[in-house]
């Protein structure tokens, strides 16, 4: 009887020791996706989510475990985003956070990263404050403000129609807008480009009527406009500016690429927007074409830069976890430094120096689209390509 009891005890112990490992192998790796699904940037948030979802479906497993995405809506509000991040980490047990469509939101989460203690990879945050901000904070997505400013200034100097113009600068009134405005004004000054309002106008994010700003631009004597406005708002601004006849003699350069859906809705009023960005569906490479085909098959939507950024960012994150061989935050962070992924806009490498990506980018101009599989009427035509070294920052 005693022997039977010992055998039963051993069997029970063996079962208990074995079961968690078995369960662990089946337990999904949870990734917290923080995107705006309501509010001013909701459409961009949907595209970010779709890009991450596409990467997860393609990657299927990490460390032999299925990937589970848990999506939370930030409403583009920093306080909401922080509480959602806490919920994702503490309650849901996410091992990493990805997404974010706003520098203000991104910085708010980054400030709490010690407490959250998970790697946080942003795919749509452009503020330069992210360079080397924290060992657990990464950027792999849209170009940062300094890179965009370099691209746009190079673009202005190389494009005869943009070169000898006086620029009026209009930004959205929050961290990214201020940073983007300052970067452009400083770089423009260095390169002999005249800016008529070096202190630039800061429009509240909730601005819907741009008429007064447009009147100010008209009265300023400028014949070029540099905008640092949230992508979804760009067509709203251009549509109103077009009604005022602003673009009859003026050219528009944008720090952020306008959203593809809004470009379609804005129509002809959205022609003639210049800007440096990572991705346009006009990029003609086998990798870009293949990704666009898959994206179209999955979502029946025009391939957007937000989706491309988040897809690449998610792939870098998944591969980083795989490379780390563990869900330990610091091990993942170490693995992410220097990692790269070949995707729809070339090789995107996360710098080991400052945790932010370096990649090729393009200067584009929006115009009437040629015949295309997506039925798009407006597109961002690629005018030239920048190497990662051209855009910097140096490593």
């Amino acid at each position: 009887m005693k022997r039977l009891f010992v055998v039963a005890l051993c069997l029970l112990a063996a079962t208990l020791l074995w079961t968690p490992r078995f369960a662990d192998a089946e337990e999904p790796i949870k990734i917290g996706v923080i995107v705006p699904l309501s509010g001013i940037a909701a459409q961009g948030g949907v595209e970010l989510r779709d890009g991450i979802e596409m990467a997860a479906k393609e990657k299927k497993t990490v460390l032999g475990r299925p990937i589970e995405l848990i999506v939370e809506d930030t409403r583009v509000k920093p306080d909401v985003a922080v509480s959602k991040a806490e919920k994702l980490v503490y309650k849901d047990g996410c091992v990493a956070l990805i997404g974010v469509f706003s520098s203000g939101v991104g910085l708010a989460i980054a400030k709490n990263i010690d407490k959250l203690n998970v790697p946080f990879l942003t795919t749509h945050v452009m503020t330069t404050e992210f360079y080397g901000l924290h060992p657990l904070v990464f950027r792999s997505g849209q170009l940062a403000n300094d890179q965009t400013a370099v691209g746009n200034v190079k673009g202005i100097l190389a494009t005869p129609d943009l070169k000898n113009r006086k620029y009026y600068v209009l930004v959205h009134d929050y961290a990214w807008g201020h940073d983007g405005g300052e970067r452009f004004v400083a770089l423009a000054k260095e390169n002999g480009i005249e800016v008529v309002n070096p202190d630039f106008d800061k429009a509240p994010i909730k601005t819907t009527d741009w008429s007064t700003y447009i009147s100010k631009i008209k009265a300023s004597g400028a014949d070029g406009v540099y905008i640092v406005l949230i992508t979804t708002v760009i067509p709203v601004f251009t549509k109103q500016a077009d009604e005022f006849g602003l673009f009859e003699n003026m050219r528009l350069v944008s720090a952020a690429a306008p959203g593809v859906t809004e470009l379609e809705a804005g129509g002809k009023a959205c022609y003639g927007i210049f800007g440096a960005s990572c991705y346009s569906w006009d990029i003609d490479t086998p990798a870009a074409n293949e990704w666009e085909k898959k994206y179209w098959e999955m979502y029946k939507a025009i391939p957007s830069d937000a989706a491309a950024h988040s897809y690449v960012g998610a792939m870098n994150l998944f591969n980083g976890i795989e490379k780390a061989g563990s869900t330990d935050p610091m091990k993942i962070a170490d693995a992410l430094r220097g990692i790269s992924f070949d995707g729809p806009y070339g090789t995107v490498r996360i710098s080991a120096k400052d945790n932010c990506m370096r990649n090729e980018a393009v200067l584009t101009e929006t115009m009437a689209a040629p015949e295309n599989p997506y039925g798009a009427k407006v597109y961002m035509k690629v005018l030239r390509t920048f190497t990662p070294e051209e855009l910097g920052p140096p490593e």
Binding site: S38, Q43, A203, P204, K206, D209, K216, A219, T261
Partner: protein
């Protein structure tokens, strides 16, 4: 000199257009409050609903002017259902009940809009003749914005006739000022409340279609407009129609001037003005405001 004239004209017209849109939304809100003492927090969402109905009607190939006629009626019918099903049963309860109810309704309508039309920003297509820039000398201004001014004037004229020259209007004004007396005289107050709510909703819908081509159409477009409308009715005096007219154009002018000259602090100026008026003129600019 030409720039000065052009900028001056822009400021004047921009102020009037902005004030005009504020006015139509705020008047609707004020009528609902004045007649039934319901502070309708879903009013901004009804404004958005009007814009989306307008977008759908124009998108289906019909003329913008047909949208301007049909969309407000559809919002009015929707308002009638809301009033009968949700608001009327709450009428005898303290105002906080309808306040919370309409607050919830606002989120419901926002969700409904997102479900039906998606998150994308929408643009209402205008007839070609309204899609131009009119130029007189050194002044050039979008033709639709000028047309909006005529539209606002027309709506206000119609409303003045309705409230001032018809029996329904007289009853409504009386019910707003001395509801107990009107009730004693045998007027069906249920009908008055219902009529006031529907009229307010129609105005919200009308403002939505008018403003759609100006400010574009997106799911939460009503939130900001609701806040601005509250500022208008607080400055003009709760329930005061004449006060609302004055306040709407005053805010339109102050906001436009502040945006032009001290851009970064424009909204601070508007809210500071509201705070000062609340402290020194709690019944609004004309002293006609009503309190519960």
């Amino acid at each position: 000199m030409q720039t000065l004239i052009s900028s001056g004209a822009d400021i004047v017209f921009n102020s009037l257009v902005l004030g005009g849109v504020f006015l139509i939304v705020a008047i609707g809100l004020n009528i609902i409050y004045g007649l039934s003492r319901v502070m309708n927090l879903a009013h901004g969402s009804l404004y958005a609903l009007g814009a989306y109905f307008g977008f759908t009607i124009v998108g289906s190939g019909l003329n913008f002017f047909i949208a301007l006629l049909i969309a407000p009626i559809v919002v009015g019918v929707f308002g009638l259902l809301l009033e009968r099903v949700l608001i009327a049963p709450m009428r005898e309860r303290p105002m906080i009940y309808t306040l919370i109810l309409t607050y919830g309704l606002m989120f419901f309508l926002d969700g409904l809009i997102k479900y039906l039309w998606g998150n994308e920003t929408r643009f209402i297509e205008l007839p070609a003749f309204l899609n131009q820039t009119l130029t007189v000398g050194s002044i050039s201004y979008p033709s639709y914005r000028l047309a909006t001014l005529f539209g606002v004037a027309g709506i206000m004229g119609g409303l003045s006739l309705l409230l001032g020259k018809t029996k329904i209007g007289t009853t409504m004004r009386a019910a707003s000022n001395i509801p107990e007396m009107v009730s004693v005289l045998g007027v069906n107050m249920k009908l008055v409340h219902m009529g006031g709510f529907v009229l307010g909703c129609v105005l919200a819908g009308l403002a939505g279609v008018l403003a759609g081509p100006l400010f574009t159409v997106y799911p939460i477009m009503g939130h900001e407009m609701l806040i601005s409308s509250f500022v208008v009715i607080v400055i003009g005096g709760l329930g005061s129609l004449r006060g609302a007219v004055l306040a709407a154009f005053l805010i339109g002018a102050v906001q436009t001037l502040a945006e032009f000259f001290i851009t970064d602090f424009a909204m601070v100026v508007v809210y500071m003005m509201m705070a000062v008026i609340l402290v020194f003129m709690p019944r609004g600019l004309l002293g006609e405001g009503k309190f519960e």
